[in-house]
Each structure stands twice: as structure tokens, then as C-alpha cells.
Subunit: 405 residues, 2 copies
């Protein structure tokens, strides 16, 4: 009898959670499991703001996929996904293809520029290890160049962060810690550096508790951030950005660095494969399957699950992706063993902590509001928990965040 | 009675040697000593190839001027020199001026591009802390950018070093050590990196012992350097360089980084001040004074002293600058004390060691040829000796190069 073949696309939070759970629950003879990922490493998307600001080495935010998979049960294929041929049950890869009986799409999200002119060309993003390293090096290069120009250009030292959502705020928290170090390293006067956060929405961290948001804004303002809220970026240029000002006016903000941290969408492979989606996100059924494709699961940033309480989609987070991975692994085991009744996915929101730098954070954990050092400690525990869930004690000790006093 | 005023311009090897000797030999009541320097720190010009390649932190190659001057005897002025008004015995600074009775010009050299088109705009130099930091950051940015482009440009990973003289070779030695680290850090295939040394002269390290040069070339070639000797750079462009090939042909070498390490000239302040010079270097009298200006001494890279044995100028080095500083300090003391007979400068060549990276070097020390680990050790001793001469044991222990096994 031919063993069913499970192909998992992506070694992010959702994909790795699925695979590590599957390799525990399924015997070698029950299924073939294939994991496809572009890189031979997993990276912590939720730590990228640190690598981008330069407060954490890029190597600290990743670990080899081989560290957490059981080679006896899982075949790892390092390749990029081009398209899913749903009618042929196969995935076209850049250097081959992968046939499947069951498919788990966990390819992660992509940066969304909403068609704003020049953003793709002139703005950096905090999307993966490569973009984060480039952003860090770009900022360092701006500081290193400052003293080498006959006519000093202070705008080299201006950093614009587009977006006051989770990524933008966490990046600002790290950046404001990093800038004094950069000033020291490159002999730059701290007062010449400007950090500007531009947000089109009328508020910072929409959806967060207002009291905590006020705290976060005041912490970041004290650390030197200028907030321009309710201000839309009209265009990014080689010299900076152009923002809307009032009804018809525009204003130019010259900046050596523009970071776009505002938009996330689902993976474009979804659309390329003809799967119905909204901005790359698939409204999955209660079992996390694609409507009309019973053998395809979508989890993580490319999936869309409605929060019934407020009738809005849950925002894409590591937490929800990992919980989805657990559910999918259970459902796949059930399908393969021909057991009745698949599990419906219910998101168990344990809370959210938004970092404001090394020692500060805000959050709601198990329904309680926290801020300051306590929240920062909880944030590190959240980060460590993701490691523990995927790789157990060993991985947590190896890559975890521990602060020794 | 008015105290004579000695103004020393520049806190490089020559200037600091002059000042530290003067503050030892002269009493507080004998003279006013003023040291003028652009930065509040001294940097080790002979270590800049390490900071430029990224094998040594830029902070390791410098120390505060205040660490070595006696504040009771020396006034330190942080300012840039614009022009020397020799007929008015005054120095125009960017933010003031400094009158003198005796002047020591120790302003250091400048990069010389020999009018080669585009070099000033598109090539990096290893001239000071600022240019070295920028070069290091630029190279890192090229590596960081490589994986972020849809169409990978291998030329981003090509580094052209113009010049196979001392600076070029020492930089290549460090760079070939650094590149494997960069490849690891940025996930770049080592075989895609090209390091090309282009030299117009028909040989590497002209003036060096041919056996040692052969050793150096073979070491660097093994570490991946391609030498293009007898090849002149015709032009530097935003994409790389154009070199002469045969009689009339030219060849383009695409490179993400072009380093110009070939030309050194004297300081342009010399010419701006109407002092007779050849490429900014003043042919000083035996007492190191400017002919026709008995109260102005010039030492270091802007001075020109003939090696009588071969009837050619000594190349500008830290060694000769420091020895000149010792002579000038003696002569100034004699002048101030109205003693007879100034000392003539005689260069005592203790040897030269050219580094080929962390653990390798070639050199001639006290007339003996050395290479490999032994030469590398001697190089570090040479570096430490410069620290010791200026700042004694304390500075040497603080900033010296010690390798512990």
C-alpha cells in the first residue's frame, strides 16, 4: 500500500509547528512527510526588528531547520515554491516539483505597498533575514558616510518609519536604543539624528488598549521619536518621502533611510496558483482547509480566520500560526488514519506583548495589562516559548533570550 | 619677558611625537605649546587597513589626544587648519587663528588620484578613521544587498584594490581574512567573491626584496587575490573601473567596491599657504625647516627628505615621521634656550614589515629578512612600539596588539 504523502510549504512558525507535531504523532510507515523551504534555516519573524536595528545579530534570529526535524521521518527540500497545481496535486518548485496527497501552505506573508509610488524601489522592509541585514547595514553606512562629505547632509541621519503598527513600533523601540551607540561609533552628534514615524491611520497600534498606547508613545517620544499620525505617505523618492498635509498640500521629508513597516499581505503564490484569496489571504474553512480543496490546508499569514466577537479577521501573528500548525497536524493524523471528525480551529488568544526596546514593553497577557520591565520580561518569555514549542528545551537554551543580572 | 609660542599642527605620528617630547624637555615657563588637530583623537594610520577591512574595530585604531598630552604644558585646540600666513606668523583655522613664534607642520598626507577620472567620486580610500569606517560599511552593505535583488549581481561581490604598494597589500591581507567571515554572515557563496588588485607599475611592493615580494604574492593569490600588474586604471565609474589593456584597448571590470590605495601626496594646506612644494611635500633643510622660513618645521608625509644612498626621497612612513618629531623637539628646545647648533636629521631605518593578514607578514628588520608568523609578530611589536614612544607603557597596554595563545 502506498503511503500518503504530506507536503508542507514553509518552515516558518506554522510550517515548523506542523512538521514537528506530525513527526511526533505519525509513525515512519504511516506517511511520507516533505518540508519545502527556501532557506535551510528558520527565522524568528517576530525578532526581525532587532536584527534590522542592529541590536541583535542576524544569526541570533535563526536556526537550521535540521535542528528540529527528525530526518528519519521528514525529507527536507531546500527550494522556492513557484506555483501550486491544485488540479494535479503537485507543487512546482524552482528546481523541481513535489507531488502531494495532502498539502499545507505555510508560506508566510509579504510586504504590501498598496501601490504607493516608489516604496518598492526606495524603502527597506523588515520581512526576512536578508532584508533586515540590508536595512541594518544601510543605516550604518549612512552614519559612516556622514563625516566623509564636504557638505554634511543631516538628512542622512534621518530615519523615517512608515507605519505605527506592531512592526513599526517594535522597530522604533530597538532603533532608539541603537542610535546612541551608532552616534558614539561614528562620532555623530545625537541631536542631528531624526527618527520620524509616519502613520496614515489616526492612531498608533490600532486595536491596542489606549492606556498602553499612550504609555508607548510617551516612552518613544522621550527616546526621540517624532510621530506624524494621520499622515499618509504619498510617494517614496531617492531623497526621502512625500506626505499629504491637509487637503491638497504635500510636504517633503528628506531622509537617508525609509523603512516601510505598514503593510502585510498573504503570499503571492496563493494567487498565482488560482486559489481564491483577498490580498493573498485565504478564508479557510473551520478545519483550516481551502474551500473546494479538501486536501489543502492554509495556515499562518496567508490564512484568514474571522474573530467572531468583532466580526473581523485575526491579525497574522506567530501565535495564531503555531496554534494552526497544531490543529493541522492533528487533522492530518486523523485523515491519514481515516478517523472521524476533524478538529475545528479555535484561536486561544494568550495575549500580545509589543516590545519598546531592550527593557520596556506594553501588552495584555491572559487578559491583564502589563507595561515596563515586567512586560519586557514577558515578551522574552513569549519569544522563548515559540522556541520551546518547536524545538523543546535544547533549542530554547541554545537560541533563547535570557538576561543575566 | 614674553614666552615663545610653539604651535604644532596635527596630532599624527610626527605631531604627537613632537609635543610629547617637548612637554618632557621644556619647563612650563620656557614656552607656550599649542597643539591643533581636526579630531580630538589620534589614529594609527598604519592600522587603518584593518579598520577598513573590518578585522579591527575603528575604535581600536585611535585614542584621545588628551591621553598623552600634559594639560599643564600643552593647550589642545580642536580645529581644522585652513591656511598658514607665513608673513604674519599666524595660522588661519576654521574657527579661529593661532599665532606662533615657531610652527611645526605635521598635517599628514592626502590621497593622490593623479587626475584619473572618476576616482574621487567612485573610489574609497584608506586615509583616516572616517574613510575606513565608510569603506568597511560599504563592503558589508554590498554583501547584505546581494540576496535582496531578484537578479543577483555577482559584481556586487567584486572588490577592486587599486595599488599594490604598502597600503594596498596590507589591505588585501586583511580583506582575504575578512571575506570568509562576510560570506558566512551574509550567506554568500565564497566562490562568487572576486578580489582584484590592479597596479600600474610592473611590480608589487616596489623597493621590497624580490624574494619577499614573491612570497607575499603567492600568499595572497592562495587566499584568492587576482593580481593585474602593469595595468593602469583609466577611469572609475559607478559600475567599476576601466583599465588599459595592451596599446589602445580598454577593459571594463565591474565591481561593487573600488578602493584607491595607490597615491599619497603632501597636505594641500602647504600649497594653499604658498610654501614651495612638490605634490604638497616640502624639501626641508637638514634641520627639517622650510628653506627661507627659519621658524617653520615640516615633518611627516608633507616633508621630503632625500635618501642620499639612492638619491631618492624616503617614502612617507610612521617611522620617519616619529624620528623627525624627536629631532624637531630637540631643535625647538635648543632655539628657545638660544643654544648653538641645531641637530641635522638622519633617518635611522630600523626596517619595514608589511602585514599579509592576522598571522602572516614579510619584512626586513635590522637588515634581516623575515616572513610568516615571525614577521607577523614583529609587525605587532612595531605597532606597539609607536604607542610606547608616544604614550609609554600605559597607552601600550591599553591600545596595543597582543595575541594570547
Amino acid at each position: 500500500m502506498r503511503k500518503p504523502k504530506i507536503v508542507v510549504l514553509g518552515a516558518g512558525y506554522g510550517g515548523l509547528m506542523t512538521v514537528t507535531r506530525l513527526q511526533k504523532s505519525l509513525g515512519v510507515n504511516e506517511a511520507d512527510i516533505v518540508l519545502v523551504n527556501k532557506n535551510d534555516y528558520h527565522y524568528e519573524t517576530t525578532w526581525l526588528h532587532e536584527a534590522s536595528a542592529g541590536t541583535l545579530s542576524p544569526d541570533r534570529v535563526r536556526y537550521p531547520v535540521s535542528d528540529v526535524i527528525d530526518k528519519n521521518k521528514v525529507d527536507f527540500v531546500q527550494d522556492s515554491v513557484v506555483e501550486i497545481k491544485t488540479d494535479e496535486n503537485t507543487v512546482i518548485l524552482e528546481n523541481g516539483q513535489a507531488d502531494y496527497d495532502y498539502l499545507v501552505v505555510a508560506l508566510g506573508g509579504e510586504s504590501e505597498t498598496f501601490g504607493i509610488k516608489g516604496l518598492k524601489e526606495h524603502a527597506f522592509t523588515i520581512s526576512n533575514v536578508n532584508t533586515s541585514r540590508q536595512l541594518r547595514e544601510h543605516i550604518e553606512y549612512q552614519f559612516a558616510t556622514y563625516h566623509n562629505e564636504e557638505e554634511k547632509k543631516d538628512e542622512r541621519l534621518t530615519i523615517v518609519v512608515g507605519g505605527a503598527g506592531f512592526t513599526g513600533i517594535e522597530f522604533l523601540g530597538e532603533l532608539t536604543n541603537r542610535v546612541p551607540e551608532l552616534c558614539k561609533e561614528f562620532d555623530v552628534d545625537y541631536h542631528k539624528v531624526r527618527i520620524i514615524c509616519v502613520e496614515a491611520a489616526p492612531m498608533v497600534l490600532p486595536g491596542f488598549d489606549p492606556e498602553l498606547v499612550t504609555y508607548a508613545v510617551s516612552v518613544l517620544e522621550k527616546k526621540g521619536v517624532e510621530f506624524k499620525i494621520g499622515t499618509a505617505i504619498k510617494e517614496a523618492t531617492p531623497e526621502g518621502i512625500i506626505v499629504g498635509k491637509g487637503e491638497d498640500e504635500v510636504e517633503e521629508i528628506k531622509a537617508g533611510t525609509v523603512v516601510w513597516a505598514a503593510g502585510v499581505r498573504g503570499n503571492s503564490v496563493i494567487e498565482k496558483s488560482g486559489i481564491e484569496a483577498m490580498r493573498g489571504r485565504v478564508k479557510v474553512d473551520p478545519n483550516l482547509r481551502v474551500p473546494g480543496h479538501e486536501n489543502i490546508f492554509v495556515i499562518g499569514d496567508s490564512s484568514l480566520v474571522i474573530n467572531e466577537e468583532i466580526n473581523r479577521p485575526y491579525p497574522p501573528t506567530a501565535q495564531i500560526a503555531m496554534q494552526q500548525g497544531v490543529t493541522v497536524a492533528k487533522n492530518l493524523s486523523a485523515l491519514i488514519r481515516h478517523q472521524e471528525g476533524l478538529e475545528s480551529f479555535v484561536f486561544d488568544n494568550k495575549g500580545t506583548v509589543c516590545s519598546l526596546g531592550e527593557d520596556d514593553a506594553i501588552g495584555v497577557v491572559f487578559g491583564k495589562k502589563v507595561k515596563g520591565a515586567k512586560a519586557s520580561f514577558m515578551k522574552k518569555m513569549v519569544d522563548n516559548r515559540a522556541l520551546f514549542m518547536v524545538g523543546g528545551v535544547g533549542l530554547t537554551l541554545k537560541k533563547g533570550k535570557f538576561k543575566f543580572f
